[in-house]
Symmetry: D3
Subunit: 273 residues, 6 copies
């Protein structure tokens, strides 16, 4: 791979990054997790999701991507072998340091792409909200999560309830990283949401939510209520679903990049920051 072919900063030299900064200021930071994804999904699913979304959006839009963060906030999966979790405080510190470094070089439109639906958000938001208020007023930050970027499309693509290790998540990885979903291990195992969470937690991340609350559960408890690690059926995994899901989110990310690039609103002004 030559320099001009790569959107990854770690595959560029510093003069190549300097040249980019002469013309553009957007940086993407992909953040995933290394955690159990049931019998079929590899531990890196969430990181792979962030990596492929970042890479493809960056290639289409011509922006740069920082090296990936492979670890996230996965304590609730930590009773399954191979799960590696950061304390929320560590994740926050890590993301803040990466953003500080980028800002020092002049990147002032920073997009965090979270591949680990929901669970990373407290750590990520804490990091960039604090940075923006107290240190980096001149940098505009966006936190992007597939769950929120695919709202309008997920319902049309998926056939069943979608939750951890579900049909959409695994279709996505299967499409982009063939072999990273063991297609012979797909299963209809799922959590009994009523039994575990009453009616207070929804069983479809893209479906209508109940009048609900957040209930905390630990790694040990998770292994007790889903011995496979699966939260919703993965039987419906297909490459085609993955393609549609991926293309929708990448398209929306490109719109976000375009909007941030040309942004002239009240946020992230150098004169105020």
């Amino acid at each position: 791979m030559t320099a001009r072919d790569s959107v990854w900063m770690h595959e560029l030299t510093w003069p190549e990054v300097e040249e980019y900064l002469g013309g553009d200021r957007v940086a993407i930071v992909p953040i995933g997790a290394t955690e159990q994804h049931g019998p079929a999904g590899v531990l890196g699913v969430d990181a792979l999701v962030a990596i492929t979304l970042a890479e493809d959006a960056a290639q289409r839009s011509g922006v740069l991507v920082a090296p990936p963060i492979w670890f996230g906030d996965s304590a609730h999966h930590s009773a399954f072998p191979g799960t590696i979790t950061l304390r929320t405080e560590t994740l926050t510190a890590l993301v803040a340091d990466v953003c500080r470094s980028l800002a020092r070089h002049g990147f002032d439109r920073i997009i965090l792409i979270n591949g680990h639906k929901g669970s990373n958000l407290p750590g990520l938001v804490t990091a960039v909200r604090g940075l923006h208020e107290r240190e980096l007023g001149g940098v505009m930050f966006a936190v992007a999560d597939p769950l929120h970027l695919a709202r309008s499309a997920a319902g049309e693509i998926k056939e069943t309830n979608e939750h951890h290790c579900g049909e959409l998540e695994l279709s996505h990885v299967h499409y982009r990283f063939p072999g990273m979903v063991r297609m012979d291990k797909l299963t209809d195992a799922e959590v009994d949401f009523e039994d575990v969470f009453g009616g207070f937690v929804g069983n479809d991340l893209f479906g209508p939510a109940p009048d609900g609350v957040e209930i905390m559960w630990s790694g040990a408890e998770q292994r007790a209520f889903t011995p496979s690690g699966q939260f919703s059926s993965s039987l419906g995994v297909t490459e085609e679903k993955g393609r549609r899901y991926h293309d929708h989110i990448v398209g929306r990310l490109c719109e976000l990049i375009d909007w941030m690039r040309g942004y002239d609103g009240p946020i992230g002004r150098k004169d105020r920051g």
Copy 2:
């Protein structure tokens, strides 16, 4: 007020709390904020919301409430006089210490009621998720937010978009704390969401959300894009709307308390914690 009239721990003696713990184990912790709520709402709106929900649910269900936390994560409002904000890390530490204290006495069903829609959630979730995984496996934690508990009802009650200082929030406080909304200062001032956030952030907290992201903004930026502090119109404030909104949420909280009390599922078991 005599002991038996009060659900507030700070209005009870220690033998009275000890007696309660002989029969029940549920505690509520109300967490608000002290932050600008536009020209009409007092700075304590979010704390008052948490306090009244906690108090009324506790009275109906016969459980106890810890003294209120009046401060939350309000940096984005901090350019308006009177706003008092905690760093997210401080909020997390504070909530964790309160929960540790309750757990030491045997409270093992703890419900955080958040009166500060959304913004406190990273701090609160970080606190209790970490506690439950690493220290207090035998305690069941729920984080309750009006935004999520009123999902099914808000649409029927409100007439306009609801956001910070909006119709529902102020009706709620007006109903429960007459005088705490200056009815002569209601206004239709609102944020131009398209200008500030493109199409990436929704303008109705109870409405359908766009394929969106989270955009961070600072206190100084907020004061620039909404000089009144108002995010959506408060013209529609009425006591009746407040009553319906309040009753719906309190009702749902009581269902939550009942469910947690009788919970026999895999979470918060003493033998595993």
Copy 3:
């Protein structure tokens, strides 16, 4: 209650606070504790003390009060149900964040009123000493404790040794918050100071002190050496003692406010801060 009747920031709108700041710069922060106060005193005694002193001094002097901090450093009471304690580090962080917020708005005379005799002082002093040296040189801070403000008067009012849950403390709360002292539970239970602390710790917080040291004790140990939680007799509680004690301290606080308002000495100058 209307805006002009209230000294509490949380009962004011931001324009009302802004108006105040046009004329005055004093803020009071009341800090208490939620901890056992024997068979007769409610858990909130220390917070109620701070609240009532803050409120009455503010009303007389025409200054504003931040919402109360209900929690303090009470680990040594934590074996009694209902006690909620912060680690000293948490209390320090919390108070520092509140003061930073006030200072941002222009409050530059900040008085902490501590209702939790002695035990909170390390945390409070650490917070504002560090802030004043390193961040907020232009703000003048005072830490006010009833123990120190009533030195000259306590001896004339009380009839017995005064310590935790003693005659003066409970008279004070009984006078200002009728019902918050269970008058039928007053007791002459007290700690055997000689047995527990040799002659190295005094048994009267307002009396002459021995050539002594500080001895640390834990919550569990406290419950062992005072099963009731009482340190000195509460039999002498009367409304009249509470009134005299309260009025003396409020009077002295008003003198403090006047002095700080007109202060022209070397501390808290804007040009140096």
Copy 4:
């Protein structure tokens, strides 16, 4: 010097300390400061005070002393050259680590001797109060300060008000460390307490205190209100005063050690800790 002549752990080998622990369990930790002491006192005055009290009490009582901590909480003196200050948090962490180490070896009666009147106490108390509650319930901790140990004697010895760099403090060091007080630089310079602190702070650390509060001042402010660094006159320094002051405190420390050695009360029991 041979092993048996020394009370200092750093002058003993590990088998010699092990032998001591076979018979006794008391350890002293001397904590001072390195801060300006006016034109006559060396920067190490507070550390020298702690060192000599620890050494002499240990020799008389036959116990061991940890190496000295030369630094304390001296930010308010930090505008004078040579002052070295720790943040309170650092002092707390340092003292806690030293105590943890001692406790690991079986020292279970630990006496902190503070040579830096008052200012170190928040840090020291925070350290050992937290340790005793949360980690080292089986260790008994005392925090000893000359200010409190000389209460009954100071009035008889000193001739003037005593404050920072005053007559007693410097007499003490002059007596024990000849040359460490520049006798030709004694001065009657002093702070104008009324001007700086109103009537709210006392001008004699051993005298009757006003109905007062604590006022924070910074290093820069201190240099403004006392250009010499002196708080009260040092003209009365004599070796004889130093001797009487020293002997009184050492005597009381020995009583403390005896009492702690034979203590059979409720604190620091192994079976509870």
Copy 5:
């Protein structure tokens, strides 16, 4: 790629990792940096070094590798665009959390492979030294650095002094990742060590060292004394040198793995940990 072809945990499912743990307990954690490597080396050089050493040693020895940490302690390079640095504290927390996660699953022989010569060591050692003493006594930790593993071989392979961006480092990456060294940008630019560091810092990381000290320099200073970022000449880069260097280190790592696997000495015993 199928499961059995991969040594990377993120390319395995949790049951596949569980199966591995039935037979072996060794895990490798590769840690690099994202920092300038002169005009020819990409920013990811140090991470690529750690990745390829980990991967090849793992493949030969049949052990597993955690996902890579792409960021290290690179503040001294931070004035060059694209450098991303963690504070030492963040790196320490990150590595500790990764190791804690691995240990929870039963990995008890953990090898950190550092691709960022020297600079990461304080953070890495702090992390695992503390973990091993205080939390994970039953886990054996090794910190492996190419600088130390190639001591005996480097002299024979290289032709010039070796320092940051030197001949050996870039040959290594050129051999394993063709294209990641811009061969048309090699340069003989180098730091004038005598001018910058006197005779107190050596100019060859594999050469004899002077009677020296460590001198700290900042990112801004580095850019001043080496405008290209180069510390020693890279003109001698060849694939063959890279191959010899790589093979030597991988060979030694495999010996380390074998030794740790069969280790029966006093470190990392379960019965003591």
Copy 6:
């Protein structure tokens, strides 16, 4: 001792330090440890090493020395009575605070002298590397360790392998502090490096190192593999060896001081810092 005889800041008054700063800006900070040094060496060996090197270099060069830090990073020795260890984080914070204080007064050439070979370096480097990058760019920092300053001379002086409690270390202390090595307890006890560390850790700190790694060991493990605490033989201790070793290092330190004093290179410039 009079002021002019002392290089120790704690033996000077603030005007005396101020006078020094009018002519010179160098400060030395000696950092040791309090840890077991076998049957013959006192616990303070490492601190005594730092103290004597600092004192003698300062006297010869005419610079000042801060009071000593008696504690370091000694967890691996902590199973032997009398060892007092700081967590690395505490050591880092402590050293940073001391350096901040010195820098405030205008000391801008700061030399840390480490008496605790190797083990303190992570903490010390973390402290001053971070300070120099983020806070004190105008201060030049050197970290000096006898191990590195005696490289060229040790081989000629010593007769056996040198490691913890070895011939050189104890000769050094014996020469400078007669009595602090119990000459009747010298021993040839040593660690079996092959058994404990395979061939991956060298058995002579001044000898050629293997292609090695760092292996962590705990305090408990150390006591298991060296019941005496000795790592290499101390039988060869003589005053003469100590004298040669000491004089060599002091000489080199004086060269360092001279070089730093006259330094005109790119590091620690006021205009950039």
